[in-house]
Symmetry: C2
Protein backbone atom coordinates (compact mmCIF):
# COMPACT_ATOMS: atom_id res chain seq x y z
CA UNK A 1 0.00 0.00 0.00
CA UNK A 2 1.37 3.35 -1.07
CA UNK A 3 0.17 6.33 0.88
CA UNK A 4 0.07 9.94 -0.24
CA UNK A 5 0.66 11.06 3.36
CA UNK A 6 3.24 9.96 5.92
CA UNK A 7 0.94 10.98 8.77
CA UNK A 8 -1.79 8.74 7.42
CA UNK A 9 0.63 5.91 6.76
CA UNK A 10 1.94 6.10 10.30
CA UNK A 11 -1.53 6.13 11.86
CA UNK A 12 -2.57 3.15 9.72
CA UNK A 13 0.61 1.30 10.65
CA UNK A 14 0.09 1.79 14.39
CA UNK A 15 -3.57 0.82 14.11
CA UNK A 16 -2.68 -2.33 12.18
CA UNK A 17 -0.43 -3.46 15.06
CA UNK A 18 -3.60 -4.37 16.95
CA UNK A 19 -4.56 -8.05 16.76
CA UNK A 20 -7.02 -8.90 13.99
CA UNK A 21 -6.72 -5.46 12.38
CA UNK A 22 -5.12 -5.64 8.94
CA UNK A 23 -3.88 -2.70 6.87
CA UNK A 24 -7.17 -2.28 5.02
CA UNK A 25 -9.26 -2.28 8.17
CA UNK A 26 -6.79 0.09 9.82
CA UNK A 27 -7.13 2.48 6.88
CA UNK A 28 -10.92 2.29 7.09
CA UNK A 29 -10.82 3.08 10.82
CA UNK A 30 -8.42 6.00 10.43
CA UNK A 31 -10.45 7.46 7.52
CA UNK A 32 -13.53 7.15 9.70
CA UNK A 33 -11.84 9.13 12.46
CA UNK A 34 -10.84 11.80 9.94
CA UNK A 35 -14.50 12.27 9.02
CA UNK A 36 -15.59 12.59 12.63
CA UNK A 37 -15.14 15.68 14.86
CA UNK A 38 -11.56 16.07 16.14
CA UNK A 39 -12.95 15.56 19.61
CA UNK A 40 -13.65 11.86 19.00
CA UNK A 41 -10.04 11.08 18.11
CA UNK A 42 -8.65 12.94 21.09
CA UNK A 43 -11.12 11.22 23.42
CA UNK A 44 -9.98 7.84 22.06
CA UNK A 45 -6.28 8.61 22.32
CA UNK A 46 -6.60 10.06 25.82
CA UNK A 47 -8.67 7.07 26.98
CA UNK A 48 -6.09 4.61 25.63
CA UNK A 49 -3.15 6.54 27.06
CA UNK A 50 -4.81 6.86 30.45
CA UNK A 51 -5.84 3.24 30.76
CA UNK A 52 -2.35 2.11 29.77
CA UNK A 53 -0.53 4.45 32.19
CA UNK A 54 -2.87 4.47 35.17
CA UNK A 55 -4.16 0.90 35.09
CA UNK A 56 -3.99 -0.82 38.47
CA UNK A 57 -4.41 -4.40 39.47
CA UNK A 58 -6.11 -5.59 42.66
CA UNK A 59 -3.40 -6.50 45.17
CA UNK A 60 -5.33 -9.61 46.17
CA UNK A 61 -6.80 -11.16 42.99
CA UNK A 62 -4.77 -9.27 40.31
CA UNK A 63 -7.89 -8.32 38.40
CA UNK A 64 -7.90 -4.92 36.69
CA UNK A 65 -9.21 -2.39 39.20
CA UNK A 66 -9.13 1.35 39.85
CA UNK A 67 -8.52 0.80 43.56
CA UNK A 68 -5.94 -1.22 45.51
CA UNK A 69 -8.38 -3.94 46.53
CA UNK A 70 -11.11 -4.57 43.96
CA UNK A 71 -14.82 -4.48 44.72
CA UNK A 72 -15.16 -8.26 44.70
CA UNK A 73 -12.22 -8.87 47.07
CA UNK A 74 -13.41 -6.05 49.36
CA UNK A 75 -17.01 -7.26 49.55
CA UNK A 76 -17.98 -8.79 52.94
CA UNK A 77 -20.70 -10.82 51.16
CA UNK A 78 -18.16 -12.95 49.32
CA UNK A 79 -17.05 -16.37 50.50
CA UNK A 80 -13.32 -15.92 51.11
CA UNK A 81 -12.68 -19.67 51.42
CA UNK A 82 -13.55 -20.25 47.75
CA UNK A 83 -11.22 -19.03 44.98
CA UNK A 84 -11.80 -19.41 41.27
CA UNK A 85 -8.62 -19.41 39.16
CA UNK A 86 -9.14 -17.66 35.80
CA UNK A 87 -7.03 -16.40 32.95
CA UNK A 88 -8.09 -12.79 32.64
CA UNK A 89 -10.70 -10.14 33.40
CA UNK A 90 -13.02 -11.39 30.63
CA UNK A 91 -13.45 -14.68 32.49
CA UNK A 92 -14.24 -12.82 35.70
CA UNK A 93 -16.86 -10.77 33.85
CA UNK A 94 -18.36 -13.89 32.26
CA UNK A 95 -18.64 -15.72 35.59
CA UNK A 96 -19.98 -12.64 37.39
CA UNK A 97 -22.66 -12.38 34.70
CA UNK A 98 -24.05 -15.77 35.73
CA UNK A 99 -24.74 -14.52 39.31
CA UNK A 100 -24.03 -18.12 40.39
CA UNK A 101 -20.69 -17.58 42.10
CA UNK A 102 -20.14 -15.95 45.48
CA UNK A 103 -16.47 -16.70 46.06
CA UNK A 104 -13.34 -14.72 45.15
CA UNK A 105 -11.20 -14.89 42.01
CA UNK A 106 -7.53 -15.19 41.23
CA UNK A 107 -6.54 -13.76 37.83
CA UNK A 108 -3.44 -15.47 36.45
CA UNK A 109 -2.92 -13.07 33.56
CA UNK A 110 -2.47 -15.89 31.04
CA UNK A 111 -1.62 -19.58 30.78
CA UNK A 112 1.71 -21.38 30.84
CA UNK A 113 2.71 -21.59 27.18
CA UNK A 114 6.29 -22.48 26.28
CA UNK A 115 5.42 -21.83 22.60
CA UNK A 116 4.69 -18.18 23.37
CA UNK A 117 7.51 -17.96 25.92
CA UNK A 118 5.13 -17.66 28.89
CA UNK A 119 6.42 -19.50 31.93
CA UNK A 120 4.98 -19.80 35.46
CA UNK A 121 6.91 -16.72 36.57
CA UNK A 122 5.17 -14.52 34.03
CA UNK A 123 1.86 -15.30 35.72
CA UNK A 124 0.59 -14.58 39.23
CA UNK A 125 0.99 -18.19 40.35
CA UNK A 126 3.40 -17.49 43.22
CA UNK A 127 0.97 -14.99 44.70
CA UNK A 128 -1.78 -17.64 44.51
CA UNK A 129 0.40 -20.22 46.29
CA UNK A 130 1.28 -17.64 48.94
CA UNK A 131 -2.43 -16.97 49.56
CA UNK A 132 -3.07 -20.71 49.65
CA UNK A 133 -0.38 -21.19 52.32
CA UNK A 134 -1.99 -18.53 54.52
CA UNK A 135 -4.74 -21.10 55.15
CA UNK A 136 -7.94 -19.17 54.49
CA UNK A 137 -8.70 -20.87 51.17
CA UNK A 138 -10.61 -24.18 51.38
CA UNK A 139 -11.34 -24.79 47.71
CA UNK A 140 -9.68 -23.75 44.46
CA UNK A 141 -11.81 -23.94 41.30
CA UNK A 142 -9.82 -24.16 38.07
CA UNK A 143 -11.70 -22.33 35.32
CA UNK A 144 -9.02 -22.08 32.62
CA UNK A 145 -9.88 -22.99 29.07
CA UNK A 146 -9.51 -26.73 28.40
CA UNK A 147 -6.53 -26.54 26.05
CA UNK A 148 -3.10 -28.07 26.51
CA UNK A 149 -1.89 -24.78 27.98
CA UNK A 150 -4.85 -24.59 30.35
CA UNK A 151 -4.37 -28.18 31.52
CA UNK A 152 -0.62 -27.62 31.99
CA UNK A 153 -1.27 -24.53 34.08
CA UNK A 154 -3.88 -26.32 36.19
CA UNK A 155 -1.48 -29.20 36.81
CA UNK A 156 1.43 -26.90 37.66
CA UNK A 157 -0.66 -25.10 40.28
CA UNK A 158 -2.05 -28.41 41.56
CA UNK A 159 1.49 -29.72 42.16
CA UNK A 160 2.45 -26.55 44.03
CA UNK A 161 -0.48 -27.05 46.40
CA UNK A 162 0.99 -30.40 47.53
CA UNK A 163 0.70 -30.85 51.29
CA UNK A 164 -1.82 -28.06 51.74
CA UNK A 165 -5.33 -28.87 52.94
CA UNK A 166 -7.13 -27.39 49.94
CA UNK A 167 -9.76 -29.03 47.78
CA UNK A 168 -9.38 -28.50 44.06
CA UNK A 169 -12.10 -28.70 41.45
CA UNK A 170 -12.54 -27.81 37.85
CA UNK A 171 -15.63 -26.38 36.19
CA UNK A 172 -17.89 -28.99 34.56
CA UNK A 173 -17.36 -29.64 30.85
CA UNK A 174 -20.33 -31.01 29.01
CA UNK A 175 -23.12 -30.35 26.57
CA UNK A 176 -24.21 -26.71 26.69
CA UNK A 177 -27.69 -26.07 28.02
CA UNK A 178 -30.11 -26.16 25.07
CA UNK A 179 -27.66 -27.95 22.73
CA UNK A 180 -28.59 -31.01 20.69
CA UNK A 181 -26.57 -34.17 21.46
CA UNK A 182 -26.16 -35.05 17.78
CA UNK A 183 -24.13 -31.92 17.09
CA UNK A 184 -21.83 -32.22 20.12
CA UNK A 185 -18.19 -33.22 19.52
CA UNK A 186 -17.19 -36.66 20.78
CA UNK A 187 -14.75 -35.45 23.45
CA UNK A 188 -17.32 -33.20 25.09
CA UNK A 189 -20.09 -35.78 24.87
CA UNK A 190 -17.75 -38.49 26.18
CA UNK A 191 -16.71 -36.37 29.14
CA UNK A 192 -20.29 -35.40 29.90
CA UNK A 193 -21.18 -39.10 30.21
CA UNK A 194 -18.12 -40.02 32.30
CA UNK A 195 -18.70 -37.04 34.59
CA UNK A 196 -22.45 -37.48 34.89
CA UNK A 197 -24.03 -36.08 38.03
CA UNK A 198 -26.87 -37.43 40.18
CA UNK A 199 -30.21 -36.38 38.69
CA UNK A 200 -31.35 -34.90 42.00
CA UNK A 201 -28.22 -32.78 42.14
CA UNK A 202 -28.93 -31.41 38.66
CA UNK A 203 -32.30 -30.10 39.83
CA UNK A 204 -30.66 -27.85 42.41
CA UNK A 205 -28.78 -25.88 39.78
CA UNK A 206 -31.93 -24.40 38.26
CA UNK B 1 -20.93 -5.56 30.33
CA UNK B 2 -19.91 -4.65 33.87
CA UNK B 3 -16.36 -3.47 34.31
CA UNK B 4 -14.26 -3.51 37.45
CA UNK B 5 -12.45 -0.37 36.28
CA UNK B 6 -13.81 2.94 35.00
CA UNK B 7 -10.57 3.58 33.06
CA UNK B 8 -10.95 0.28 31.25
CA UNK B 9 -14.66 0.87 30.65
CA UNK B 10 -13.94 4.29 29.15
CA UNK B 11 -11.18 2.98 26.85
CA UNK B 12 -13.42 0.13 25.68
CA UNK B 13 -16.28 2.55 25.09
CA UNK B 14 -14.16 4.91 22.97
CA UNK B 15 -12.69 2.00 21.02
CA UNK B 16 -16.16 0.58 20.34
CA UNK B 17 -17.17 3.87 18.71
CA UNK B 18 -15.09 2.83 15.69
CA UNK B 19 -17.11 1.24 12.86
CA UNK B 20 -17.24 -2.55 12.98
CA UNK B 21 -15.73 -2.72 16.46
CA UNK B 22 -18.16 -4.06 19.04
CA UNK B 23 -17.72 -4.01 22.80
CA UNK B 24 -16.14 -7.45 22.94
CA UNK B 25 -13.61 -6.70 20.20
CA UNK B 26 -12.86 -3.34 21.82
CA UNK B 27 -12.17 -5.10 25.14
CA UNK B 28 -9.89 -7.59 23.39
CA UNK B 29 -7.95 -4.78 21.72
CA UNK B 30 -7.58 -2.76 24.94
CA UNK B 31 -6.47 -5.85 26.91
CA UNK B 32 -3.92 -6.52 24.16
CA UNK B 33 -2.53 -3.00 24.55
CA UNK B 34 -2.32 -3.49 28.32
CA UNK B 35 -0.10 -6.54 27.78
CA UNK B 36 2.22 -4.70 25.39
CA UNK B 37 4.89 -2.17 26.36
CA UNK B 38 3.46 1.26 27.29
CA UNK B 39 5.30 2.60 24.29
CA UNK B 40 2.98 0.92 21.80
CA UNK B 41 -0.12 2.59 23.21
CA UNK B 42 1.47 6.01 23.26
CA UNK B 43 2.70 5.59 19.68
CA UNK B 44 -0.83 4.68 18.60
CA UNK B 45 -2.48 7.56 20.43
CA UNK B 46 0.09 10.10 19.21
CA UNK B 47 -0.23 8.84 15.62
CA UNK B 48 -4.03 9.13 15.72
CA UNK B 49 -3.95 12.56 17.35
CA UNK B 50 -1.38 13.85 14.88
CA UNK B 51 -3.12 12.56 11.78
CA UNK B 52 -6.43 14.03 12.94
CA UNK B 53 -5.00 17.45 13.84
CA UNK B 54 -2.38 17.93 11.14
CA UNK B 55 -4.06 16.22 8.21
CA UNK B 56 -4.00 18.30 5.04
CA UNK B 57 -5.81 17.92 1.76
CA UNK B 58 -4.34 18.69 -1.64
CA UNK B 59 -5.64 22.10 -2.73
CA UNK B 60 -6.20 20.77 -6.25
CA UNK B 61 -7.60 17.24 -5.97
CA UNK B 62 -8.59 17.17 -2.25
CA UNK B 63 -6.78 13.92 -1.66
CA UNK B 64 -5.10 13.46 1.72
CA UNK B 65 -1.60 14.87 1.47
CA UNK B 66 1.17 16.18 3.71
CA UNK B 67 1.88 19.05 1.33
CA UNK B 68 -0.32 21.73 -0.25
CA UNK B 69 -0.28 20.20 -3.71
CA UNK B 70 -0.05 16.39 -3.67
CA UNK B 71 2.57 14.39 -5.50
CA UNK B 72 0.18 13.33 -8.26
CA UNK B 73 -1.11 16.86 -8.97
CA UNK B 74 2.45 18.24 -8.86
CA UNK B 75 3.89 15.63 -11.24
CA UNK B 76 4.76 16.97 -14.72
CA UNK B 77 4.34 13.44 -16.10
CA UNK B 78 0.60 13.43 -15.47
CA UNK B 79 -1.97 14.26 -18.13
CA UNK B 80 -3.71 17.35 -16.73
CA UNK B 81 -6.57 17.17 -19.26
CA UNK B 82 -7.85 13.92 -17.80
CA UNK B 83 -9.51 13.85 -14.37
CA UNK B 84 -10.85 10.79 -12.60
CA UNK B 85 -13.63 11.51 -10.08
CA UNK B 86 -13.44 9.20 -7.04
CA UNK B 87 -14.98 8.95 -3.62
CA UNK B 88 -11.98 8.79 -1.32
CA UNK B 89 -8.26 8.11 -0.98
CA UNK B 90 -8.76 4.34 -1.09
CA UNK B 91 -10.03 4.59 -4.65
CA UNK B 92 -7.02 6.69 -5.63
CA UNK B 93 -4.73 4.06 -4.09
CA UNK B 94 -6.57 1.25 -5.89
CA UNK B 95 -6.35 2.95 -9.29
CA UNK B 96 -2.70 3.97 -8.75
CA UNK B 97 -1.94 0.32 -8.00
CA UNK B 98 -3.00 -0.65 -11.52
CA UNK B 99 -0.31 1.63 -13.08
CA UNK B 100 -2.81 2.09 -15.96
CA UNK B 101 -3.84 5.67 -15.32
CA UNK B 102 -1.73 8.75 -16.02
CA UNK B 103 -4.28 11.53 -15.46
CA UNK B 104 -5.19 13.45 -12.30
CA UNK B 105 -7.84 12.71 -9.68
CA UNK B 106 -10.58 14.61 -7.98
CA UNK B 107 -11.55 13.25 -4.56
CA UNK B 108 -15.18 14.06 -3.69
CA UNK B 109 -14.98 12.94 -0.07
CA UNK B 110 -18.15 10.86 -0.34
CA UNK B 111 -21.31 10.45 -2.40
CA UNK B 112 -24.58 12.41 -2.37
CA UNK B 113 -26.76 10.50 0.07
CA UNK B 114 -29.92 12.14 1.40
CA UNK B 115 -30.36 9.15 3.73
CA UNK B 116 -27.11 9.97 5.50
CA UNK B 117 -27.69 13.71 5.22
CA UNK B 118 -24.87 14.20 2.70
CA UNK B 119 -25.73 16.83 0.10
CA UNK B 120 -23.68 18.21 -2.82
CA UNK B 121 -22.31 20.97 -0.59
CA UNK B 122 -20.72 18.49 1.80
CA UNK B 123 -18.59 17.22 -1.08
CA UNK B 124 -15.94 18.95 -3.18
CA UNK B 125 -18.24 19.21 -6.22
CA UNK B 126 -18.13 23.02 -6.52
CA UNK B 127 -14.33 22.91 -6.63
CA UNK B 128 -14.53 20.32 -9.45
CA UNK B 129 -16.97 22.48 -11.44
CA UNK B 130 -14.70 25.52 -10.91
CA UNK B 131 -11.73 23.54 -12.26
CA UNK B 132 -13.86 22.34 -15.18
CA UNK B 133 -14.80 25.93 -16.07
CA UNK B 134 -11.14 26.93 -16.18
CA UNK B 135 -10.95 24.94 -19.41
CA UNK B 136 -7.92 22.68 -18.92
CA UNK B 137 -9.92 19.48 -18.41
CA UNK B 138 -10.94 17.58 -21.57
CA UNK B 139 -12.34 14.39 -20.04
CA UNK B 140 -13.90 13.51 -16.71
CA UNK B 141 -13.97 9.81 -15.76
CA UNK B 142 -16.60 8.89 -13.19
CA UNK B 143 -15.27 6.09 -10.99
CA UNK B 144 -17.78 6.11 -8.14
CA UNK B 145 -19.28 2.86 -6.94
CA UNK B 146 -22.31 1.86 -8.98
CA UNK B 147 -24.92 2.29 -6.28
CA UNK B 148 -27.90 4.60 -6.27
CA UNK B 149 -25.81 7.19 -4.40
CA UNK B 150 -22.96 6.86 -6.87
CA UNK B 151 -25.26 7.20 -9.88
CA UNK B 152 -26.99 10.23 -8.31
CA UNK B 153 -23.65 11.91 -7.70
CA UNK B 154 -22.46 11.19 -11.25
CA UNK B 155 -25.67 12.63 -12.67
CA UNK B 156 -25.55 15.72 -10.44
CA UNK B 157 -22.01 16.50 -11.61
CA UNK B 158 -22.94 15.72 -15.22
CA UNK B 159 -25.76 18.28 -15.11
CA UNK B 160 -23.44 20.92 -13.67
CA UNK B 161 -21.07 20.45 -16.62
CA UNK B 162 -23.85 21.52 -19.02
CA UNK B 163 -22.53 23.85 -21.70
CA UNK B 164 -18.86 23.01 -21.03
CA UNK B 165 -16.81 21.29 -23.71
CA UNK B 166 -15.83 18.28 -21.58
CA UNK B 167 -16.18 14.61 -22.42
CA UNK B 168 -17.50 12.42 -19.64
CA UNK B 169 -17.00 8.70 -19.30
CA UNK B 170 -17.52 6.07 -16.65
CA UNK B 171 -15.30 3.11 -15.87
CA UNK B 172 -16.36 -0.13 -17.54
CA UNK B 173 -18.56 -2.48 -15.56
CA UNK B 174 -18.40 -6.10 -16.54
CA UNK B 175 -17.19 -9.56 -15.68
CA UNK B 176 -13.97 -9.42 -13.66
CA UNK B 177 -10.88 -10.76 -15.40
CA UNK B 178 -10.63 -14.46 -14.62
CA UNK B 179 -14.25 -14.81 -13.47
CA UNK B 180 -16.58 -17.54 -14.74
CA UNK B 181 -19.69 -16.30 -16.57
CA UNK B 182 -21.96 -18.78 -14.81
CA UNK B 183 -21.33 -17.18 -11.43
CA UNK B 184 -21.77 -13.56 -12.55
CA UNK B 185 -24.91 -11.68 -11.46
CA UNK B 186 -27.41 -10.86 -14.23
CA UNK B 187 -27.04 -7.09 -14.02
CA UNK B 188 -23.27 -7.22 -14.48
CA UNK B 189 -23.45 -9.85 -17.23
CA UNK B 190 -26.24 -7.93 -18.97
CA UNK B 191 -24.25 -4.69 -18.88
CA UNK B 192 -21.12 -6.41 -20.10
CA UNK B 193 -23.00 -7.61 -23.19
CA UNK B 194 -24.69 -4.26 -23.87
CA UNK B 195 -21.41 -2.42 -23.45
CA UNK B 196 -19.30 -4.89 -25.40
CA UNK B 197 -16.15 -3.47 -26.96
CA UNK B 198 -14.47 -4.20 -30.33
CA UNK B 199 -12.29 -7.30 -30.01
CA UNK B 200 -9.28 -5.49 -31.44
CA UNK B 201 -9.69 -2.74 -28.83
CA UNK B 202 -9.65 -5.33 -26.04
CA UNK B 203 -6.23 -6.57 -27.18
CA UNK B 204 -4.66 -3.16 -26.55
CA UNK B 205 -5.47 -3.24 -22.84
CA UNK B 206 -3.13 -6.14 -22.14
Amino acid sequence: MEFSSKLLENAVYEMSQLPGIGKRTALRLVLHLLKQPEDQTSKLSVALDTVRKDIKFCANCHNISDVDICEICASPKRDRTLVCVVEDIRDVMAIENTSQYRGLYHVLGGKISPMEGIGPHDLTISSLIKKAKEGEIKELIFALSSTMEGDTTNFYIFKQLDGLDINTSTIARGIAVGDELEYADEVTLGRSILNRIPFEGSLKAN
